[in-house]
Symmetry: C2
Subunit: 160 residues, 2 copies
Amino acid sequence: MPLPDANEKPSLTFTISELADEFGITPRAIRYYEECGFLSPRRKTPTSQRVYDERDRARLKLILRGKRFGYSLAELGDILKLYEIDPTQGKQIRRTLEYGIRHIQEIDEKIEELQEIREEMLEFARSFLEILEAGKDGKSREMRDEISGARIIIDRLGES
Amino acid sequence: MPLPDANEKPSLTFTISELADEFGITPRAIRYYEECGFLSPRRKTPTSQRVYDERDRARLKLILRGKRFGYSLAELGDILKLYEIDPTQGKQIRRTLEYGIRHIQEIDEKIEELQEIREEMLEFARSFLEILEAGKDGKSREMRDEISGARIIIDRLGES
DNA sequence: ACTTACGTTTACGTTAACGTCAGTTTTATG
DNA sequence: CATAAAACTGACGTTAACGTAAACGTAAGT
């Protein structure tokens, strides 16, 4: 008598609107990503509801993260492929690894650029603030408090 | 007799296609940004050629940089406004400064997120590489060289 | 002055990434 | 079992961000 396997993966699953709510998007968007071939949730019958598992969720998260950094869905397709390859299939392995490394280097460049932008913004805010501080004598008490509050925040931001 | 002012700013100027070439975009795109109100190059007559100066160039650079990080032109509009305000106009100053600070904090969040992604990618590449190394006995000399080359690169990427 | 390359405006075309119905079918619940 | 809530499948609509073509003016070299 085959007992029901107690070792069944408890792997949680999600409905389409659960994921949509969690990530602040619409079900339509999720279906669209499937149209593009980026997701392939299970179904009991070909017409029944989509069942998303952790893996699907992770992929969706990746997609949305990529979008926040300005990647188009087409570009994200390439990145997603990285997570699909079976490394025992020793054929395109080299290309895959190279692509992965290049991708990491791209990320490094983005980080550097962001740090430059950060410095610029900070510089801008500082000079802005200096002008404010120079003319604060004529200002109200309230205004002077605002200014010194901003000074504290900006100084703190300048430390990291 | 007014002499021609020898102190004229040598400020370099650019044509539309000079900028387009430099940044790898089309003149059409640059005109479009002007349509959106993000650029306002000088002209000798209202119908003659556009003359871009350093300031215009800087703004364009900012726009393109923003786009690379996933901002829409609409969002970039807000950021560009930051660079326009006259800080002697002590009215919306507080809002401006607050917006600037918030923007820096957003950048910090993006940097953090990128660092997380970087770690993930690196982790992925490492485990990928380990599988390769595990089965390298049966591989050709050439293949083994590839693998150890990748190992060096990935180890180096893991240090920073 | 002539040509040639570049610039300008106007206006319509295009593509990605969904939004928005409408009509139908599943799934959950009293 | 009924019925309401949620999902499904087309299919067409929309918006941002340009592309592209036509028709014309202008600046620069020969």
